[in-house]
């Protein structure tokens, strides 16, 4: 009996095989290649272009003494925490929560509006955000109509602008995840809590949030990983400037690898980005495990 059960369990894994193979081919292979390249002096042009040499940890040593690097790590963390963990995540939860209570047409309109930003290709969304925040842009025209003086947002507050743009663009994802999660919360439990005299706030903290905890962790993981890799949005809006004030790790890696042709150094930065993703990822996995206890 037990044997047959294990065979059946193994057979159940069969449908997963193609996707695992695809993942290995398209995800693991480039990651491994990138790790390998980060230990070489591979370049786009010049002597090292075709016959790169193994240089060991040289690129990483150089990274540690590069003043642009710690700044980029800090900006990346600020960008991820502000726009994904706080912005997209909380706003997504809030909108999803309000939508479950709102009337159908209202929630449909809100849902469409939010999802519209998400459906736009990243490059289009980036140009839209640029047009919105630039000096003669929509935001300043609106402010001007209201009699308020705008600022040159992309120049004076580049990080604020890209964080807001990323929240605008990505909130729909969190909203969809939380809509699904909230719909799965059994009604009778919160009704029972209501009978016991729990306030709305208490029901949220003690009933709803614990019940959707795994959705929260999954969502946090996905939006974090997506946001860590955001490049187009920042590149189009500020190109990492002014004076590196919005240069996150992907922007820095791109500059080093493709603008200066230093593939080895660029991939070393990308490798740090992967490690950063792993750190966030492990944190969320812990959160998920805590749920099962």
């Amino acid at each position: 009996m037990a044997e047959r059960r294990t065979v059946r369990r193994q057979l159940r894994l069969l449908p997963v095989v193609p996707s695992v193979l695809l993942l290995l081919l398209f995800l693991a292979a480039p990651v491994l290649w990138s790790f390998h390249a980060s230990f070489t002096n591979a370049a786009l042009t010049g002597r090292n272009a075709r016959n790169p040499a193994w240089t060991g940890v040289e690129n990483y040593v150089r990274l540690l003494s590069d003043p642009a690097f710690p700044a980029a790590v800090l900006l990346t963390i600020v960008f991820v925490v502000a726009s994904a963990v706080v912005g997209q995540n909380l706003l997504g939860l809030l909108i999803a929560g309000l939508m479950t209570r709102a009337r159908k047409p209202v929630s449909a309109v809100v849902g469409t509006a939010v999802v519209a930003a998400w459906v736009l290709p990243e490059i289009v969304a980036a140009f839209a955000a640029y047009a919105y925040f630039s000096k003669d842009g929509t935001l300043n025209q609106l402010l001007g109509n209201a009699g308020a003086a705008g600022a040159d947002w992309l120049y004076a507050y580049p990080m604020v602008a890209v964080v807001l743009a990323n929240i605008w663009r990505g909130t729909a994802f969190s909203m969809l995840v939380y809509r699904a999660a909230l719909a799965d919360v059994p009604r009778d439990i919160s009704e029972a809590a209501l009978m016991d005299g729990a306030s709305g706030w208490q029901r949220l903290v003690f009933i709803t949030l614990p019940l959707i905890r795994s959705s929260i962790a999954t969502n946090l993981m996905l939006v974090t990983l997506q946001t860590l890799a955001v490049f187009t949005l920042i590149w189009v809006m500020t190109a990492g400037g002014p004076s590196n004030a919005s240069t996150t790790l992907p922007v820095l890696a791109y500059q080093e690898a493709f603008k200066f042709g230093d593939i080895g150094y660029g991939t070393a930065i990308a490798s740090v980005l992967i490690v950063l993703g792993l750190v966030f990822g492990i944190g969320y996995v812990r959160l998920l495990k805590g749920d099962k206890r």
Binding site: L22, L23, F26, L27, P30, V31, A43, L44, T45, G46, R47, N48, A49, R50, S65, S134, K135, D152, Y155, A156, F173, L176, V177, R179, A180, A181, A183, D184, L222, L225, Q226, A229, A239, G241, P242, S243, F258, K259, F260, G261
Partner: protein, 451 residues
């Protein structure tokens, strides 16, 4: 209803992750007698596209059984360079003939991307018609020639005569020193405070434009230099470098140039050509010899009155010292890929592309400075726009960038120094010191010369 939504969301995010991480490689053309041609094409630059289309038609007609496959890359200069380098990295994707920036020739020769053309050029009669400076642009470190120049350019001061006259400055205007530029700019500002009197690019957003159309005009007009050709070392700690930064600081601090925020917008040049100069909102700017191509019929910012309203002046040296002016030149070439399976055919196509007929058409429509003496003597070339003669003469005071593999980093460090100065983040002395440190870190002490 909600479960499928959740699954869909998960699937889509997985697909997005896959799509961003998967890298695509183009399949090589299997056919033997197919030539692959890679070049740049943008909305404002289609002269090259025309040239290659014409060359393809003639070449295919004259060489039955040979196919020419044009692969234009739609990108700006930076991105074009990156895409080309990525294609050249593998012999599978490398083109047979491609459009190559002069300042990348040496490092790409080092990388083994370019085929040495000496043997072909000896047998090609037209080669004798190229001027010597242009021939040098395609020369590698070993003295061999690896690329055939298509055209070159120079930089000058372009000024709006009406704006200057309104400020009481007589035209034609030719400043003799940096001080005379400031003097004129202050007069214009006094006459109309809403003007941008004298613009020079700064900061990283305008990229090579910042150094080619601004900083090097200053630096090469001092007694200092960026790179010592004899010693093959980068110069740091020079007086001229700090002076040049200080000049930019004066321009920006006194509001004589655009605002720092405008300078750090990568699209600022569009406003210079499309708005400020034609509308008389800007006195002068430092720009390339290709400037009229924007205003000519069919250009991006057609302006019929430009020939009458605009004037051109030589950029002066710091204190009017010899040779009295400064210009910078770049330009582009055509090269044959080192891995080409049909090098003979590839060169044949290249020589067809730069024939007198094609060169003339390209030089005129692209507002280039001719590199072939037979093209330079053509009436059609001289009549292409009213400024051809003025900007062609600047070749006598022009400089070329040090085309080493380190150059892109040095250029970026210079751009960063100008950005720090115009935004007030650092003083000219501090920014120069930071530049010195960056150069030392990037190229190593052995390749640095303290002056």
């Amino acid at each position: 209803m909600h479960r499928p939504a959740k699954i869909l969301a998960a699937l889509m995010s997985a697909a997005a992750l896959l799509a961003t991480s998967a890298c695509s490689a183009e399949k090589p053309a299997a056919e033997d007698r197919t030539l692959k041609i890679v070049y740049q094409k943008t909305d404002s630059f289609s002269a090259l596209d025309t040239l290659f289309k014409d060359a393809k038609k003639d070449f295919e007609a004259a060489n039955q059984g040979t196919k020419v496959e044009l692969q234009p890359i739609e990108a700006n200069d930076d991105d074009y360079g990156t895409k080309l380098a990525l294609a050249l990295r593998s012999s599978e994707t490398a083109p047979d003939v491609f459009y190559e920036d002069t300042f990348k020739v040496r490092s790409d020769v080092d990388a083994g991307y370019l085929l040495k053309l000496d043997g072909y050029l000896e047998k090609w009669d037209d080669w004798k018609l190229y001027n010597e400076a242009a021939k040098a642009a395609g020369t590698g470190d070993d003295g061999g020639i690896y690329a055939v120049p298509l055209g070159t350019d120079t930089r000058a001061i372009w000024y709006n005569k009406k704006v200057l006259q309104k400020a009481g400055i007589s035209v034609p205007w030719q400043p003799r020193s940096w001080d005379e530029i400031l003097e004129a700019a202050r007069k214009m500002k006094a006459a109309d405070p809403s003007l941008v009197p004298f613009n020079m690019y700064a900061g990283k957003a305008t990229g090579e434009g910042t150094v080619m159309q601004s900083f090097y005009e200053l630096l090469y007009g001092t007694d200092s230099e960026l790179y010592d050709q004899q010693e093959k070392k980068w110069v740091i700690g020079s007086r001229g470098f700090t002076d040049s930064l200080a000049f930019l600081k004066t321009l920006y601090d006194e509001g004589l140039a655009v605002t720092p925020a405008e300078a750090l917008d990568a699209n600022v040049w569009k406003k210079v050509f499309g708005e400020w100069l034609p509308k008389g909102k800007m006195g002068a700017t430092v720009e390339g010899s290709y400037t009229p191509s924007f205003w000519q019929k069919g250009g991006n910012y057609e302006w019929a009155g430009y020939a009458e309203d605009m004037g051109v002046a030589k950029f002066p040296t710091q204190r009017g010292q010899e040779p009295g002016g400064v210009s910078m030149s770049g330009g582009w070439t055509l090269a044959v890929g080192a891995d080409s399976k049909n090098p003979d055919l590839a060169f044949k196509f290249l020589s067809e592309a730069v024939s007198k007929k094609n060169s003339l058409a390209f030089t005129v429509s692209g507002s280039q400075i001719a590199v072939r003496t037979d093209v330079a003597a053509e009436a059609e070339y001289l009549a292409a726009n009213p400024f051809v003669k003025d900007v062609s003469e600047l070749v006598s005071v022009t400089h070329y960038r040090p085309a080493t593999a380190d150059y892109p980093r040095i250029s970026a460090a210079v751009q960063e120094a100008t950005e720090a100065v115009i935004t007030g983040a650092l003083s000219p002395q501090e920014a120069a010191a930071q530049y010195d440190k960056t150069v030392r870190d990037q190229v190593g002490d052995a390749k640095v010369l303290q002056k």
